[in-house]
């Protein structure tokens, strides 16, 4: 029986080789030297500052270049300028909450769409409610998937909605969990031509290391991403990026204030910020740091891929799809116009009578055919083709 083809990166990406090596050696380090004299220095400054003997014993941790090194590598991976700040957290939701807090400092009504990840959407709505502000949600998915809306249609529609509802902030996914790649820069540009946009928050959890987020950097005040999907870190680490001049000082001030008041609820965010600012207070919660090392390994692996190859893989999505083992039946793609496609594709069975409709049953049918996918109700499956699957 041939090995199963993993096509569920949009849920949880396969661990990259360097991430795996980092985790294995960190586990060994934990067993052999749980609290080494050199550990704090290693943590802050990286593998190179370790004594040679340690380097020889734990070579899998060679991708660790310290907190600042990891942040710099992530900045480079995202294509962000050096002055941009990188935040690392146990959960990306903590960063969404932080960004929402900053957003509702200045925004009274934030425009969102039905493409938002529900958990993030709820966090934003909760913060809006707490601060006596609003979130206006407009439907978009069906128009993109079933009515073939173009990039211009989407930009015009969202601009009109923004003006009609008198919004002043926006919260959008760069790529939604069903694979729609929103033209963020076009949308923001169209809005800014006609109205004041105070804060732009982008969910790049499905976009980071999947498609280029460079254009988001030109217009987003805060970008939330993670290491466990397309990057290949496997263990979840929330990644936050911010640095636009108009909002940087606001977010930095908020972060500093919450750190001082000890109100950063995410243990890793709190610890990393303290370490980065040399303000360890000795009272912070014990933090599981494993995901930092796997994240560093994954970043290292990802940066070794030639840039042209990533673009090529995106354009070759149709040929990749054709080669995927699938169950019998007429599986038709449900996807947006080509400008808004990503490496996530939805397929729907057109054999309405014979194919199973329940999500779990559909998933099993695909598993029997040799592919691991996500399945949804009505016989729709999601194929997310990682860099490992060609």
């Amino acid at each position: 029986m041939p090995p199963l083809l993993y096509l569920d990166t949009a849920r949880l990406g396969p661990m990259s080789p360097a991430a795996r090596d980092a985790q294995l050696d960190f586990v060994r380090l934990s067993a052999e030297e749980p609290s080494s004299l050199y550990f704090e220095q290693f943590l802050r400054d990286g593998f190179r500052t370790w004594p040679d003997s340690y380097q020889r014993r734990f070579p899998g941790l060679c991708t660790w270049s310290g907190i600042a090194g990891l942040k710099q590598a992530i900045r480079q991976l995202a294509g962000a300028p050096d002055e941009w700040q990188v935040l690392l957290a146990n959960r990306s939701l903590s960063l969404v909450e932080l960004a929402a807090r900053a957003m509702f400092r200045v925004c009274r009504n934030v425009l969102a769409t039905d493409l938002s990840w529900p958990t993030y959407q709820r966090a934003v709505e909760t913060k809006a409610h707490q601060t006596a502000n609003r979130v206006t949600v407009v439907p978009l998915r069906d128009d993109i998937l079933y009515r073939a809306w173009t990039v211009d249609d989407v930009a015009t529609y969202l601009t009109d909605a923004f003006i009609t509802h008198q919004c002043d902030g926006i919260f959008l996914p760069a790529v939604d969990h069903l694979g729609i790649r929103l033209p963020i820069h076009r949308i923001v540009k169209a809005i800014c031509r006609q109205h004041e946009l105070r804060f732009c928050m982008i969910d790049a959890a499905q976009a980071f290391c999947h498609v280029s987020i460079t254009e988001c950097l030109n217009c987003a005040d805060f970008i939330v991403a993670g290491s466990h999907k397309w990057m290949g870190g496997y263990l979840p680490t929330g990644i936050g990026l911010f640095g636009r001049r108009q909002s940087r000082s606001l977010i930095e001030c908020l972060l500093r204030r919450r750190r001082h008041l000890r109100r950063l609820s995410d243990p890793m965010l709190n610890f990393v910020e303290q370490l980065d600012n040399s303000e360890i207070d000795g009272e912070s919660e014990t933090v599981n740091l494993t995901s930092l090392f796997t994240c560093a390994g994954a970043v290292s692996d990802y940066r070794s891929i030639p840039p042209g190859e990533l673009t090529q893989r995106l354009t070759q999505i149709d040929s990749s799809l054709a080669a995927i083992p699938r169950p019998p039946g007429d599986w038709q793609p449900v996807r947006p116009v080509s400008d808004m496609r990503s490496r996530i594709t939805l397929l729907r069975s057109e054999d309405r009578g014979s194919s199973p409709r329940r999500a779990e049953a559909v998933r099993k049918v695909w598993l029997s055919a040799g592919s691991i996918v996500s399945a949804f109700h009505n016989g729709v499956v999601r194929l997310s083709i990682s860099r490992g699957a060609r």
């Binding site: 009274r108 601060t131 001049r245 108009q246 909002s247 930095e252």
Partner: protein
């Protein structure tokens, strides 16, 4: 002379209740002798109703108040508001004591003071409080900002002097702004109208003290816009130093050359608040966001 006429008219006016009461008594006495118990009860009821109606009509005619309520209705309404009713009784007691003093000079002075009191009462009843030559308005300002149910405070700062809100009372008020905004109790937005001498046409940023004042608010998340005063020459009604407290109240500050409060007017009149909101929207068209400026220009080192 005029007072004498008024007194005579008042005496004549006060005769009718006695006449009406005597007539009613005679009618009931006649009825008691001539009618059965049930008919007499009905008659008494009718007389009482008639009497109350007459008093009500008379009061309405004699005491035409701003909202056309009669004295009887006023008493009835006030009785439901214990706090105001207590003040009403205290005022009535004072008026009685004033009335009993027959010294003409005392009466003259007292009436002058009462006229002033009436004028101030009318202003307060119109929903407005005026503070002149004092910074004590900031106490009311803080109470209002901290009041439950207030979520949005929009402020227009008309900055004619770099010392604007840089004194101790001003700094304390800013600290309250920062505290409430950071605590997510209140959303604050501010538009600064800046005199051209503090922000000359060729300069990117306004006067450094002023820029820092605006920047300090920006980093704390107060949404700041600013505009040169000269940009508003065609719309002089937009030039004012005001605060809009939700949709609840409007404060207007007038300052002297040293940025001390000459007068502060706080009004709870809804129409005034709505008009101020309209002016705020027009002003926002002229003003540019501080954040947008930061995106385009470097801060002076």
């Amino acid at each position: 002379m005029r007072d004498k006429h008024l007194t005579r008219a008042a005496i004549q006016d006060h005769r009718w209740p006695f006449v009406a009461a005597i007539s009613a008594c005679l009618l009931i006495a006649t009825g008691w002798m001539a009618l059965s118990a049930a008919a007499l009860t009905a008659l008494v009821g009718m007389v009482v109703c008639l009497f109350v109606t007459l008093i009500h009509a008379h009061d309405r005619h004699r005491w035409p108040s701003a909202d056309r309520t009669s004295l009887l209705e006023s008493w009835w309404e006030l009785a439901g508001d214990r706090a105001v009713s207590n003040r009403s009784r205290q005022l009535t007691d004072s008026l009685l004591r004033i009335s009993r003093n027959r010294d003409p000079l005392f009466r003259e002075l007292a009436l002058e003071h009462l006229d002033e009191l009436v004028r101030r009462g009318e202003v307060i009843a119109g929903g407005t409080f005026i503070f002149e030559g004092t910074e004590t308005w900031r106490i009311i300002y803080e109470r209002l900002l901290r009041s439950p149910g207030l979520h949005l405070y929009r402020s227009v700062a008309w900055v004619k002097n770099a010392n604007y809100w840089q004194d101790e009372p001003g700094r304390k008020s800013m600290a309250i702004n920062f505290e409430l905004h950071a605590g997510e109790q209140l959303n604050i937005e501010r538009i600064a109208i800046i005199a051209d001498e503090l922000w000359p046409a060729g300069e990117v940023w306004p006067d450094e003290i002023l820029r820092q004042w605006l920047h300090a608010q920006h980093v704390r998340g107060i949404w700041i816009r600013f505009v040169r005063q000269s940009a508003l020459m065609q719309e002089p009604d937009l030039m004012a130093d005001i605060g809009i407290y939700g949709s609840r109240a409007l404060g207007t500050q007038e300052l002297d050359d040293n940025c001390r409060t000459v007068r502060f007017t706080m009004t709870f009149d809804f129409a005034s608040v709505v008009a101020a909101e309209e002016r705020w929207k027009r002003l926002a068209v002229y003003a540019e966001s501080f954040a947008g400026y930061l995106d385009r220009y470097d801060i002076p080192s």
